[in-house]
Amino acid sequence: MSAPLLLKGGRLVDPSQGMDAVGDLLLVDGKVSAVGGTIAGPEGARTIDCAGLVVAPGMIDVHVHLREPGREDVETVASGAHAAAAGGFSAVCAMPNTKPVTDNQATVGFVKRQGEAAGFARVYPYGAISVGQQGEMLAEFGEMVGAGAVAVSDDGKPVENSHLMRTALEYAQTFGIPVVEHCEVMALAHGGSMHEGLISAKLGLKGIPGEAEEIDVIRCILLAKLTGGHIHLCHLSTKGSVDLVRWGKDQGVNVTAEVCSHHISLTEAAVEGYNTNAKMNPPLRTPQDVAALQQGLKDGTIDLLVTDHAPHHYDEKEREFADAPNGIVGLETALGVNVTWLLEPGILTLGQLVDRMACRPAKVFHLPGGTLAKGSIADVTVFDATREWTVDPARFKSKGRNTPYGGRTLKGRAIRTIVGGRIVHELDG
């Protein structure tokens, strides 16, 4: 066990216990030992001055792609977990669209062990909903949960077969895990590479209408209503989706939803010039959509923020737009982007930001952490909400460099990431 850590004089922000006050935090034996007020450190404790910094429950990103097994040239569980730690995340949930697909207990166990061996952020594996993500047969949820899976998803593509989705929502209730849907009607989105609108018409790129997402959103909400299962909707990108989730929640449906940092900060205009680092699925949308997503986060319709961290090899993005792969890396920019676009303009309070990045993810995915309550695991993010820095992709811990924020100045940066009482990232250290 590492030495006790005493974080002195930081601004303790923990919405899980309604806390926002300057005070100390003591971590002993991987647990929160004391929180708030002035705490005297025990013998041998390392004291860290946190004056002027925010001390929050460790941030959790429930939507990342770590590419292992299969594309270790692009990212590994270790490099991804390292990037997560560097971005202030104490835990991530790794999507199962690996090669082979993480659709069985062996692969789930492998990903979990790779995460433990790396020793950076905690890595919680997802299992696939269907065998091989083929959308035909249910994968073995029970075995995968036994091996460490915390949720199931066929992310990368939707579960098009509504019967299969219904069954998944029913079956998952045995294990108390959310069914996580990538919302897309493939036949409508087919061949599209950006938001459908004036810019796509001008650029001659096939567009993806917002309805391609929204139709699947309402289908999943209705199936969750039918089954009583917990549906969690991935990376929502449109105003219509926010409205539909709001309706679902009003109806008492067990629906939760997430939004990516890029969807609350960038619009379709970023694609102009055929910038493949602005290509992702779902695509960047209109300013009206961005405003609705921000509002959805504020009023709680959207539960939480994610990155959809999706590393690609540089030459995979170095091609004509329509043929370039979807996705961007996000672990190391998310906090800065969220502070810059949500906290700075006053859309979210600091407490709300911590809630959407730490508390809600833990709650929705039934993960440990997300709180600094005495006795909880000692996962902590220490960040500077006022620090300005310029994004330099060459310095990323991730193997991926594909970011639309390269060269941009962001406000807000993780200073220390602590996992189980152990410092796994130290910016100025």
Binding site: A201, K202, L203, G204, G273, E320, F321, A322
Partner: protein, 319 residues
């Protein structure tokens, strides 16, 4: 006229002065093709690569004539691309070409933005000979030249583009070019083959071909890609001809004689009837003739423009 930059990637962003400048240079170049010795020494010693990732006979031959009449050395590279290997092929081909010290690349590619992609990565001048559904600027220019030959100034003239605008780079280059020249632009076709944002592009929409013919002074009839039917955009070619075909009967009811343009190759009996294509108001062959002159003009006006101007070109589609 404001000079062009390193590349010609599209007509979007070109000013009326720039377009007029190209057409004014093309005008006297028409005469060269009428000479016994159809050749001027202008581009002697320059190497032009016609890099075609998509089958094209007309455009490639037109460029090749233009290059040869300007005395450039021409190399044709025709590469079929599978959808998987497109990207690597384009980057790698670009690097290989640069290593062979060429001066200009004429590129045709199925991916929108491919010409710009290439232009941003090589020093040579790049001429877009059609990229995906984005632009086909030299086709747009030859259409403008043909219309100008017949109508004089394009200011306030009413031009309707008929057919599959959604998948047409010719339509987009025409829209930007015609708008820059002050013309009124409309489109006519089934809504399933028009971009949803078409009106935001400053374009009027006609649902019925009869109304379009009633309004327009010229029709630019697009080729209907036969595979559109397979993907369910229209039910059948027969019905397309019935509803949207440019037929003599329809033109005879027009309040005025309409110029008929078509970028070719034509599907006779589908989007255009033979007696219209071969009729007195068809300028389809003049388009072909003008195509060579326009391409000679573009080759000439880009020759020697260095990469230092490429930055400007990036910001404006082409400058």
């Amino acid at each position: 006229m404001t000079m062009l930059g390193k590349d010609l990637l599209g007509l979007a962003g070109l000013s009326r002065e720039q377009i007029t400048g190209i057409l004014d240079v093309a005008e006297p170049l028409k005469e060269i093709s009428e000479r016994t010795i159809k050749k001027v020494p202008t581009l002697r010693g320059m190497t032009v690569v016609n890099l075609f990732f998509e089958p094209s006979t007309r455009t490639r031959i037109s460029f090749e004539f233009a290059e040869k009449r300007m005395s450039a050395d021409t190399v044709n590279v025709a590469t079929a691309v599978s959808s998987v290997s497109k990207g690597e092929t384009l980057v790698d081909t670009a690097r290989n070409l640069e290593a062979m010290r060429i001066d200009m690349v004429v590129v045709r590619h199925p991916g929108s933005g491919a010409a710009r992609f290439l232009a941003e990565r090589i020093e040579s001048n790049v001429i877009n000979a059609g990229d995906g559904t984005c632009e086909h600027p030299t086709q747009g220019l030859l259409d403008l030249l043909t219309l100008r030959d017949k109508l004089g100034s394009l200011e306030g003239r009413r031009i309707c583009i008929v057919g599959d605008v959604l998948h047409s780079r010719v339509a987009r280059s025409n829209i930007w070019g015609l708008q820059a020249m002050g013309a009124e632009v409309a489109v006519c076709g089934p809504r399933s083959l028009l971009p949803g944002a078409i009106r935001e592009m400053g374009v009027q929409v006609f649902d019925r071909i009869e109304a379009a013919i009633d309004w327009a002074e010229a029709l630019n009839v697009l080729r209907l890609q036969l595979e559109r039917m397979e993907f369910g955009y229209i039910p059948s070619l027969r019905e397309y001809n019935r509803v949207f075909g440019v037929t003599r009967a329809r033109l005879e009811r027009a309040p005025r004689d309409l110029l008929i343009l078509h970028p070719g190759p034509m599907n006779r009996g589908v989007e255009i009837d033979s007696d219209v294509a071969d009729g007195p108001h068809s300028v389809i062959l003049q388009q072909v003739t003008n195509g060579v002159a326009v391409r000679m003009a573009v080759l000439y006006l880009l020759a020697g423009n260095k990469a230092s101007l490429a930055e400007v070109a990036k910001t404006g589609g082409a400058t």
